[in-house]
């Protein structure tokens, strides 16, 4: 699922980098006892149009909350999920001059 997490405005990148690193460390630890362990965070997305929130793709929302608990700029996960269709347009930004090239 994809969930929305709140973070300090302007700290989207720091928060995502730290959270990703926490998940990588967590995965390494779990791989010792379970060779099929997967990363609790599949991906993190932060469109530049959106400040103070990041999208987190995960199979286990509660585990993300656990991994993020010590991050200073992480302000919690908003209940509910978003679909890929709702956020896909952020991946393909329209050119700024779209529509102005006629003639």
């Amino acid at each position: 699922v994809i969930v929305i997490a709140k973070c300090t405005i302007g700290k989207e990148l720091d928060t995502a980098v730290d959270l990703s690193a926490k998940a990588e460390t967590d995965l390494k630890e779990r791989l010792i006892s379970n060779k099929n362990a997967r990363n609790e965070i599949l991906s993190i997305m932060s469109p530049y149009e959106i400040k103070g929130y990041i999208f987190i793709e995960t199979m286990h929302v509660d585990r993300v909350e656990y991994l993020a608990r010590t991050l200073r700029n992480f302000k919690g996960i908003i209940s509910g999920t978003v679909s890929m269709d709702e956020i896909e347009h952020y991946l393909t930004p329209k050119p700024a001059v779209s529509g102005l090239s006629l003639g």
Binding site: L42, S43, M45
Partner: protein
């Protein structure tokens, strides 16, 4: 000390280096907007839609 991330204009990878780690000759730029961090490209729907097949940090948009 805050790290300044720069993006490759070809693959959009984010790096703290002046040159892309994959495209050695490509100078990276600070003019990028939005990002995706992919930990598990095989499991991630976002990575698939973005066409990302390797773990890492990527800019969504890079000014060329």
């Amino acid at each position: 000390m805050k790290k300044q991330y720069l993006a490759c204009k070809i693959c959009k990878r984010l790096t703290t280096d002046q040159f892309c780690p994959v495209h050695g000759d490509e100078k990276t730029t600070e003019e990028w907007f939005g990002f995706v961090i992919v930990n598990d490209p095989e499991g991630s729907v976002i990575a698939k839609r973005a066409g990302i097949t390797e773990p890492g940090m990527y800019a969504i948009k890079v000014r060329s």
